[in-house]
């Protein structure tokens, strides 16, 4: 019994809890591959690039006017239904499911980028 307890104490794994749900490895550990699916959040530049690409490829939009600050209705001259279409295109691009009330509030590139960046499941 004592032998068993001694053997167990020897092989028992140390307790290791993650610090926070969204913690990522530090840059010098970039060679360390974590096989969890919770560590691959998008960088802000990636989000901005993809959002701007989606907005620029909308047929009613003039691509040269699109920056990260544009408001869809005021700066780009779009309709509210066009805004709905753009939000749906962003949902498809990032594989998100945005609730209706939240999607209604997304009115400009800024809000879209912020929402997508802060979403944990943004692909």
């Amino acid at each position: 019994m004592a032998l068993r307890a001694a053997v167990l104490r020897h092989i028992r794994l140390p307790v290791q809890t993650l610090t926070a749900a969204g913690s990522r490895p530090q840059p010098q550990w970039s060679f360390l591959r974590l096989f969890s699916s919770h560590d691959d959040h998008l960088t802000k530049e990636e989000v901005i690039d993809r959002v701007l690409d989606v907005v620029k490829s909308f047929p009613k939009v003039d691509p040269s006017k699109v920056t990260a600050d544009v408001h869809f209705q005021k700066d780009l001259g779009l309709d509210s239904l066009d805004t709905v279409e753009i939000v749906m295109a962003l949902e498809e691009e990032f594989k998100l499911e945005i609730p209706d009330k939240e999607a209604d509030k997304i009115d400009s590139c800024n809000l879209a980028i912020e929402y997508i960046y802060n979403h944990p499941m943004a692909g």
Binding site: M1, L8, V15, T17, L81, T83, E97, M121
Partner: protein, 120 residues
């Protein structure tokens, strides 16, 4: 003719506009559920947009309410029985499949049959 731009009128109009936007959003998603192939979807989406644009300039609040109600009835009639929902969202196939374990969980590595012979 009711007061042109009173606060009550404006709030009612704003509520109606929100209903229209949400209805358009749901109808567009539903169209994508039915018409999976993109060329068909683009065609159907254009038709849907035409229907919304045709009634764009109606001014009378009650007519607008009736139109919105009729639109929502049509939407409910045509809802897809098996819509595409993103897997991790509620209703999707991966929803709560692997919930995050509560923090502070301890991993204790005993043998599989460690509890069999309790006499030591």
């Amino acid at each position: 003719m009711s007061g042109a731009t009173t606060a009550a009128y404006l709030t009612r109009r704003a509520a109606q506009k929100e209903r229209v936007r949400i209805l358009y959003r749901r109808a567009l998603k539903d169209t994508l559920n039915w018409a999976v192939h993109r060329h068909l979807f683009y065609q159907d989406a254009s038709d849907l947009r035409e229907k919304f644009e045709a009634n764009k300039n109606v001014e009378d609040l009650d007519t607008i309410d009736k139109m919105i109600a009729a639109g929502e009835a049509t939407y409910n009639k045509w809802r897809h029985p098996d819509p595409y929902i993103v897997p991790w969202a509620p209703g999707g196939s991966k929803f709560t499949r692997n919930p995050v374990p509560p923090s502070g969980i301890e991993i204790v590595n005993k043998g599989i049959f460690s509890n069999v012979n309790k006499l030591g």
